[in-house]
């Protein structure tokens, strides 16, 4: 299935990763591998559940000190095409209970395609609009401006990392 993207709600990232598809797939589906890259250092990541089957649980925790862990993601897989595609959502938690995650509910679709140089990697994330509405209702312009500068810095840092 493919669906159109809504530019106000959705995001898409395309990247050619110079590693075999099987390697990238493993990095996503092996709990020890996933814990290595899922959260930015110095935050520690613990993969609590990773049942890579449709309906399977996807639960991760995070920690600043590596001792006390708090919730990070409580989600479930919707689609698993082995080696090719993963779809998961946090709108249903790992027990299939409808959830209202912060800041906004999303469905993420990760596609692992063939590419002459490795893996044609694509992320599409579709969001609910509840977060958007809440954001615009609750934040006055002055508060919104503080958010802008914080995010300008965040984006600049993210760009710096890729260099």
């Amino acid at each position: 299935m493919t669906f159109d993207l809504d530019p106000d709600l959705d995001l898409r990232i395309d990247r050619v990763i110079r590693a075999p598809r099987s390697r990238v797939w493993q990095a996503w589906t092996d709990p020890l591998d996933l814990a290595r890259w899922w959260l930015p250092a110095p935050t520690h990541c613990r993969v609590d559940q990773l049942e890579v089957v449709p309906g399977g649980a996807f639960v991760t925790s995070m920690s600043d000190d590596g001792v006390a862990f708090g919730p990070h993601l409580d989600a479930c897989f919707l689609v698993v095409d082995t080696g090719a595609r993963i779809v998961f959502t946090n709108a249903l938690d790992s027990r299939w209970r409808p959830a209202k995650p912060d800041p906004v509910a999303m469905t993420a679709e990760i596609t692992f395609g063939e590419h002459p140089e490795g893996t044609d990697y694509r992320v599409v994330v579709r969001h609910a609009d509840a977060g958007s509405r809440r954001h615009h209702e609750e934040l006055g312009f002055a508060d919104g401006w503080g958010t802008v500068t914080a995010q300008l810095a965040a984006v600049a840092e993210a760009q710096e990392e890729t260099r």
């Binding site: 995001l11 990697y121 992320v123």
Partner: protein, 119 residues
């Protein structure tokens, strides 16, 4: 994925770059801040920026080109209005979520292409 959507996505990211570039300048950020309180004439804006009109107009054009503001001329007065929707491109949860996923993609790429190094 249709060609129309692909070309839209390409244009969308160009827009994002333009908006960030426009906001990189303190004078232009101040203009956006003033217009956040309501529309203002170019003359008023130039005065509050302590700039001559010709050099200030360059900033107005930059902001207008990337869609952050609209301008309309009535008689001798050109009035600027903030386009809040365009500002929303960088302000808010979607930009934050994009940064999160870009970061994840960077770390995954680093991990699978260079797994021996601590990440």
């Amino acid at each position: 994925m249709s060609c129309a959507i692909l070309s839209f996505m390409a244009n969308h990211s160009l827009t994002l770059d333009d908006v960030f570039a426009a906001l990189a300048d303190p004078t232009r950020r101040a203009v956006v801040g003033v217009l956040g309180r309501g529309p203002a004439s170019v003359g008023e804006l130039a005065q509050s920026a302590s700039m001559t009109l010709p050099s200030f107009m360059k900033h107005v054009h930059t902001l207008e080109r990337c869609g952050l503001i609209h301008t309309a001329k009535s008689g001798r007065v050109r009035t600027c209005t903030l386009n809040r929707k365009r500002l929303g491109v960088v302000d808010g949860w979607l930009a934050e979520q994009r940064a999160v996923w870009e970061g994840r993609t960077d770390r995954l790429e680093q991990f699978v292409t260079n797994p021996q190094e601590p990440s």
